[in-house]
């Protein structure tokens, strides 16, 4: 540790830190325009100039890269320093007369206009000021080595190799992030054969998977993580104080022995691109319910503000119900939750904007506790409810100011009129549908599905949580569309079923079993390859087949197959079934 004196303050700082950091510690502001804490000091803008006094001698240095020395004295606002900064600002102003950040800094430093004639160059307000942060970021931190300087003096500029787009760019966006003027922009276009993903705002390589994720632990997306791509960056690691970042972590498959399984694999949402007439994926400002939910979320891209792509507030918002549900072409069933969240959307939009809100519905299904009340309350808030399914959405413009907007064509069955309603933003209430891999999961647990594709409960009324496979239970939207209270109720019921077995500590298995009567078995081995559970074994010594009772599930296939009728199926013996036939045919 060393002690230095800044503007009369005596402060103690670690050795070989820079004057800039020391000043920061002392709470003294020093202007910078090419400095970024994640980059090595570059010292190109010279704005951070300060006066350092040692003994009788004093000199001007750049604070960002000048190391502290024991007992040194620093003046950050001596007349000499102020004079130099002003001079630098005047030069920058004359060089970049239109650039916003330059003007802002000039104001701070009390410079109104340069004394020098401005070069008659029409610069954009976000022109490049050659701070070099992007270049250093790309080379030193990201290590992509794409950006560099070309030419000298007045012609100096930041370029791509040979001025060409290059595949070496990993599209990390770091350059854009550090660029103080916004000169560097990320644009959406096909890149390396990949179509740009339609997302709400930029998504970082390390993020929390979903807004309400519990536990709220961020994960690294190895595909887009700079460090995992180039070995550089590691910024997240440097800023993470508890040092929780572990780039070495790998996916692993764990085998866990369990006695019972609760299948609650949830649902997928209907892909609205299948209904082209609503312009999802083709028109701007058309959102799926889940996307809109993200938009509304306070931690979302707009911090919960309801904004259009162009950052403006919508004049009107349309919400269309039953996208893919209650629709013979897609899902016949009702997704049950849409009506209510659509009302919630309307409420929030009403709350946060002055936009007019239109709901396009087939029937309102406010079936739950307090739901109907909520519905009536919204009607009072002045939501426009249009009974009738929207026919299509087209691009159009506002009649008054001609601004472009969307127009929803629909029939209002209540007034029996065809209507065309302008909305700036459209929210589609996608249907809840079975997960794409539901069939694989189903076969894995050998449980059945209902016609709608959701998992089938053992009995629709009397046993809604268990399945036809002992020890396998289902809950939530995996079993069928339902809202949170219902899901919680069903899940609790399933959990209770599971616990009751655990507490009993033993299970009862069906007495329906196949057994071999050895006196009749001649070891022809026809049954041997029939059992999917491998319950039939052949006893070489006795030359007979044998059924392992614990493995046998009692399907009776081997019983029917056994040509010597040595295999009997308890509970369904030949005699019993033949007797049954006799009884049936009298």
């Amino acid at each position: 540790m060393v002690t230095i004196n800044i503007d009369g303050q005596h402060i103690e700082v670690v050795d070989d830190t820079t004057v800039l950091k020391a000043a920061e510690k002392a709470g003294i502001w020093i202007p910078t325009m090419c400095h970024c804490e994640y980059l090595e000091p570059y010292g190109v803008c010279r704005l951070c100039s300060v006066e350092v006094v040692r003994g009788k001698r004093s000199r001007i240095v750049t604070a960002c890269n000048y190391p502290v020395r024991a007992g040194m004295t620093v003046h950050t606002n001596s007349p000499r320093v102020t004079w130099i900064r002003k001079l630098i600002m005047e030069m920058m102003l004359s060089r970049w007369p239109n650039v916003r950040v330059v003007h802002e800094m000039a104001e701070k430093l009390g410079v109104s206009a340069p004394r020098f004639p401005s070069l008659e160059r029409d610069e954009a307000e976000n022109a490049c000021i050659l701070c070099g942060m992007c270049v250093n970021m790309c080379n030193d931190v990201v290590r992509a080595g794409v950006l560099g300087f070309a030419h000298t003096g007045i012609n100096r500029e930041v370029v791509l190799p040979f001025g060409q787009k290059t595949d070496r760019c990993i599209v990390c966006g770091a350059c854009a992030k550090v660029c103080p003027t916004g000169h560097i922009r990320m644009v959406l276009e096909d890149y390396k054969g990949k179509k740009p993903e339609y997302t709400l705002g930029p998504k970082t390589a390390i993020s929390v998977p979903s807004l309400q994720a519990v536990p709220r632990v961020p994960v690294i997306d190895p595909a887009s993580c700079i460090h995992l791509t180039t070995g550089g960056c590691e910024i997240c690691a440097t800023v993470c104080e508890p040092k929780a970042i572990n780039y070495g972590m790998q996916d692993e498959v764990q085998e866990i022995e369990v006695g019972q399984i609760l299948v609650a694999t949830g649902f997928d949402i209907f892909d609205a691109t299948a209904m082209a007439q609503y312009g999802y994926g083709t028109l701007d400002n058309v959102y799926s319910a889940l996307e809109f939910e993200m938009l509304l979320n306070s931690t979302g891209p707009t911090g919960g503000k309801v904004l259009l792509k162009n950052g403006k507030e919508p004049r009107s918002v349309g919400i269309i119900h039953c996208i893919g549900s209650r629709d013979q072409n897609h899902h016949a069933y009702c997704s049950r939750v849409c009506c209510m969240y659509a009302l919630k959307f309307a409420h929030l939009v009403h709350d946060r904007t002055k936009a007019a809100i239109y709901q396009f519905y087939i029937d309102m299904r406010a079936f739950g506790k307090g739901y109907e009340e909520f519905y009536t309350r919204l009607l009072d808030e002045g939501i426009t409810m249009i009974r009738g399914k929207a026919a299509e959405v087209v691009e159009g413009s506002w009649p008054d100011n001609g601004e472009r907007t969307l127009r929803i064509r629909c029939e209002d069955t209540l007034i029996g009129k065809f209507r065309e309603i302008p909305v700036d933003m459209l929210v589609l209430c996608n249907a809840i549908e079975p997960r794409r891999d539901a069939d694989r999961v189903r076969k894995l647990f050998s449980i059945s599905k209902s016609p709608d594709g959701f998992f089938l409960e053992r009995h629709p009324k009397l046993d809604p949580t268990s399945t036809t496979t002992d020890g396998v239970y289902i809950a939530g939207c995996a079993q069928g569309p339902k809202d949170i209270p219902d899901t919680v109720a069903q899940a609790s019921a399933a959990a209770a079923r599971i616990l009751s077995l655990i507490s009993r500590g033993e299970v009862e298995i069906d007495p329906v079993r196949a057994t071999v009567q050895e006196t009749y078995c001649s070891g022809c081995r026809i049954c041997n390859n029939l059992c999917p559970y491998g319950a039939i074994e052949f006893l070489e010594d006795r030359k007979v087949s044998h059924v392992n009772e614990a493995l046998c599930k009692g399907c009776g296939t081997c019983v029917a197959a056994c040509p010597s009728s040595a295999m009997t199926g308890e509970g369904f013996t030949d005699a019993q079934i033949l007797a049954e036939l006799d009884g049936l045919m009298v």
């Binding site: 009749y520 001649s522 026809i526 041997n528 390859n529 029917a560 040509p563 040595a566």
Partner: protein
Amino acid sequence: MCGDETMARPTLALYWAASCGGCEIAVLDLHERILDVANAFDIVLWPVAMDFKYADIRKREDKSIDLCLFNGSIRNSENAEMARLLRAKSTTLVAFGSCSMEGGIPGLANLTTKQEILKFVYHDSPSTISTNGGIMPQTHTTMPEGEIEIPEMWETVKALDQVVEVDYYVPGCPPIPDQIWSVVEYILSGKPMPPRGSVLGAGTKTCCDECARKKEEKKLKEFFRPYEIETDPARCLLEQGIVCMGPATRDGCGALCPAANMPCRGCYGPPPNAVDQGAKMVSALSSVIDAHEPEEIERILDQIADPVGTFYRFSLAHSILRRVEKP
């Protein structure tokens, strides 16, 4: 009258109804042991070998014959009549051989009709020349000298127990002499007889039990007919794609046919608990067919020639459906 050994000895009757005589030959094939039988029993009826009158049988008291070995199926009223007579006169009536037990090969006549048989034999047969206006045999014919008649054959062949109550069964076409001997010995030993309806002179398992061939798990994509391939004499014939009735056939024969490289045809009848030999064969074979696709399954099934005629070679008349229906 003690001292008179003929009275002391149990009485034995052997009779053949609709049979080929093979069962009788099998009895003769006891060779020298036949003499022991002759000594042990007082034989009261044996048309093939000795001289007796049916009249004497009719005169006998009911149940006065201790043991009657009845072979041959029931093809016409005369067979049935003898069956009833011998049932009445015998305390123990044994259905002896495949024919009387389950119809046997004659039962295959249930695959066709009496009409078709007569039509072919006396009309369509290539060697038949209708020299007198295509007449057929008649039960009654008037000749210049007078009226003469011949019995009428039945439409459907029956097993003995479809006509009268049967006490025991001895399967086989013909029954293996050693098995016949073991039955005779057992009866002579005076041991308590097994429950009525039991099968004597045979095992409780299937032919496979006696078959020395090596058996493994079976998965079949092709079936062959016996003449189509050379088979490995050490390996299960079914595994080699030869339809063998062994798995659905009661043991007791000593698996003679597989030992001679020929597939079993099921003459010992269905195993103890099997209801229907052919049905058992169907489930057995379809279980070892290694195919999931309907087309492939049909292709494989096409390779199995004449299911009914093969799976019911000996047991058709006694099967669940008993005969083939002709429109």
